[in-house]
């Protein structure tokens, strides 16, 4: 499956009433889920067309959460996998132009934690305080890693996995786009 096909699939799903779609093909398992709850994806959030809050519009514009996982992940991981991940980050950008950082190449045992919304990245609970996490820190599930703020909405990003912070991909007090990679974590 190439990027164009994947994009078509996402668009077709966006237009349809289907909320969940799964397929397996050539070492790639694809799962598409459309969230009908009140969600606005990052690119739209930049323009934040809140018409998307009406149920009808929400159904039409709801972001599609996509998970692409390699089946039995062979060492020679499918070359199209990182590209697919990048595509998923870029897909919402088709709606509204936005700066989308390409997802870094997938590494063995490494996961990337992304920003849940557009906003300012804070590494610490208040200016001058020690950061929530540093490179090399062990993190556990539910641990607060950073805060993303937009218009006085503070969003604590929590770890959903156990592991070690191997890289922080954004500087304190910089703008984060929706889906922008924030941390690289080596999974325990």
């Amino acid at each position: 499956m190439n990027l164009k096909e994947l994009k078509e699939l996402i668009e077709a799903m966006n237009r349809s009433a289907i909320t969940h779609f799964e397929m397996e093909q050539e070492g790639l398992k694809l799962s598409l889920r459309k969230d009908t709850a009140l969600q606005i994806n990052g690119a739209q959030a930049t323009a934040m067309t809140m018409s998307a809050l009406s149920p009808a519009a929400a159904a039409a514009n709801a972001p599609i959460a996509v998970a692409a996982v390699p089946i039995a992940a062979p060492p020679t991981a499918p070359a199209n996998l990182p590209a697919a991940t990048a595509m998923l980050a870029a897909a919402p950008a088709a709606v509204t132009p936005a700066v989308v950082t390409p997802a870094p190449a997938v590494e063995e045992g490494i996961t990337v934690i992304k920003s849940p919304m557009v906003g300012v990245f804070y590494e610490a609970p208040q200016p001058g305080a020690p950061p929530f996490v540093k490179i090399g820190d062990q993190i556990s599930e539910g641990q607060v890693l950073c805060i993303i703020e937009a218009m006085k909405l503070m969003n604590e990003v929590q770890a959903e996995i156990e592991g070690t912070i191997v890289d922080i991909l954004i500087k304190n007090e910089e703008m984060a786009e929706f889906g922008q990679p924030l941390f690289k974590v080596k999974i325990k």
């Binding site: 969230d35 709850a37 009140l38 969600q39 606005i40 994806n41 990052g42 739209q44 959030a45 930049t46 323009a47 934040m48 067309t49 809140m50 018409s51 998307a52 809050l53 009406s54 149920p55 519009a57 849940p116 919304m117 557009v118 906003g119 300012v120 804070y122 609970p125 208040q126 200016p127 305080a129 539910g142 993303i148 703020e149 937009a150 218009m151 006085k152 909405l153 503070m154 969003n155 604590e156 929590q158 007090e173 910089e174 703008m175 929706f178």
Partner: protein, 335 residues
């Protein structure tokens, strides 16, 4: 700048004092303009609708004054809640670290939608970036509302929604010229009367809306550093307010707007926000999170909620851009 107090309010104040003094044991002040009994009842009814601490006691068949600084109670607030769902699960604490923190714990226990947490006193009330929020007992409303389902990316709108709701109540109930400073500070005559801080719930769909509204503080009850920048409803209106009445009114306004937002989208909300937002058209300084300050003019607020900022032309500057986070200071226009 001060708001002028009319003769009508002087009469109301005299009526309130006359009712309240026997309870408080204070000397009776001579009414400025004694109202005739029939007129007095009409004025009292008006006062009740304006949030004065007065009520009609049906058992005694007479009007009574309350102490505007009495302690809150969940029962009293619940008895006058006009809402359909918001605040029906109301948790009252005599003291809490912060109501937003209590709300976080509540979300972990899956409390019902529209749960409201009220504290008489916050020991660690805080604003953005853990800035301290002074929350003494008896003089303010310190509460958090749990709303869902709102994903983090869409929840920032609730920031404006809450600010609009509080601003409306202050205008309609207290009759004060409240306006909004972007994004969600409620201001009266250039001083902050209400702060709002939102936090995304850890369940990914709840949003905690924390509100601190200064109701009854005297000037000397604010810390010295805040005396010029903070104010209370009682200070501005120069009369007492009843906190349960105000809370019920605010929750009602929030509920109505949340329903409209879900049913018809954000257009009406953002229009109302713009109509109340005093930042639009102002010369401002924006202190950005990275400690850089910029001067310019705010030309509007986008549908996203971002301010449209036209920086003063320096070098490549002067081009309008959208700003989503930062501290805005309104500057006086040079004359």
């Amino acid at each position: 700048m001060e708001i002028s107090i009319g003769e009508r309010q002087k009469t109301k104040m005299a009526i309130y004092e006359a009712l309240a003094n026997p309870l408080a044991g204070r000397p009776v002040a001579a009414p400025a303009a004694p109202a005739a009994p029939g007129e007095q009842a009409a004025l009292l009814a008006e006062m009740a609708a304006e949030g004065w601490p007065v009520y009609f006691d049906t058992a005694l068949a007479q009007w009574q004054a309350r102490d505007g600084r009495r302690l809150l109670s969940a029962a009293e607030i619940g008895a006058q809640l006009p809402t359909k769902w918001l605040g029906h699960n109301l948790l009252y604490y005599a003291e809490a670290d912060s109501t937003n923190l209590m709300a976080k714990l509540c979300i972990a226990q899956q409390v019902p939608r529209g749960t409201v947490i009220v504290a008489e006193k916050q020991t660690a009330g805080r604003g953005r970036l853990l800035r301290h929020w002074v929350s003494l007992p008896r003089v303010g409303l310190w509460f958090s509302v749990i709303l869902s389902p709102f994903a983090p990316a869409g929840a920032a709108l609730l920031s404006f929604l809450t600010a609009v709701a509080v601003c409306r109540v202050i205008r309609e109930v207290a009759g004060l010229p409240a306006v909004l400073k972007w994004p969600n500070d409620v201001m009266i005559c250039g001083r902050k009367v209400c702060g709002i801080l939102l936090e995304a719930g850890s369940d990914g769909q709840s949003v905690i809306v924390g509100v601190g509204l200064n109701v009854s503080q005297r000037r000397d009850e604010f810390p010295a550093a805040l005396q010029e920048t903070a104010t209370s409803l009682a200070l501005e209106a120069r009369r007492p307010f009843d906190r349960p009445f105000l809370l019920a009114a605010i929750l009602s306004q929030i509920e109505t707007r949340v329903e409209t937002l879900i049913d018809t989208g954000s257009a009406a909300l953002m229009d109302e926000y713009r109509s109340l937002c005093a930042t639009i058209g102002k010369r401002v300084r924006i202190d950005f999170p990275n400690s850089i300050a910029e001067y310019g003019v705010v030309s509007g607020v986008a549908d996203s909620g971002a301010v449209i900022f036209i920086p003063d032309a320096i070098g490549a500057g002067g081009r309008a851009r959208e700003v989503m986070a930062g501290d805005i200071t309104h500057l006086r226009t040079q004359t």
